[in-house]
Symmetry: C2
Subunit: 105 residues, 2 copies
Amino acid sequence: MTECLTTLDGIQFNEAEEKELASFAKALGHPARVRLLKILAGRVCLGSDLVDQLGLAQSTVSEHLRILREAGLVDAKVTHPRTCFSLRPEALERIRQLLGDLYSL
Amino acid sequence: MTECLTTLDGIQFNEAEEKELASFAKALGHPARVRLLKILAGRVCLGSDLVDQLGLAQSTVSEHLRILREAGLVDAKVTHPRTCFSLRPEALERIRQLLGDLYSL
DNA sequence: ATCGTCCATCGTCAATTGACGATCAATAGG
DNA sequence: CCTATTGATCGTCAATTGACGATGGACGAT
């Protein structure tokens, strides 16, 4: 245990927030998912012309959307036979907040 | 190609920025790395008492640090036999900017 | 020159991820 | 009831990740 410039004694970790941020980040950690968010940021809702936009197989896009939904970044409203996907801006705001907590404390 | 609430015609993608954000996010996408950043946010520099803090094997911590360094989130200055790790706040600022571009455009 | 310390790297293993085609479920419309 | 459409899910495969112990390299100090 060598020395640091300042003590390490007083650090308290917020494991919940660490996991929360990591989980958001993981969901964001793929270019296709970033692109999906970008598309959904502009327009309110989408069917799956998202598939056309991404040039990936339908099942692949569906999987990316599932990840984004599970992370809370995207919302899906089913109005059969279509599903409307939308961005959840609160989630992005939350990420910014968590990032802020990270290095301005 | 079904209908969207607004057109999809005019979207132009910035693939470089998408990859940049995804790459940052990927590096952030693990609780141990978030914790490392949290530690490095508070103090200027560290040896590897980081290992003690994380409770992971030295090689594992070293690997997490490598990922953070390669992503540009962390800086390492070698002053043998120690290495000083520090946060690169510009990187976090850049992430916030990329996030902002995502949903306020 | 040797030793100890610190950190990176290697090899390995299990687990997860990303992509795909194929299939399934639910509904609207004929 | 049948069909077409949309999107979720399944199974599979290769590739990547996360973790570890072991090893190696670079100093500083003895």
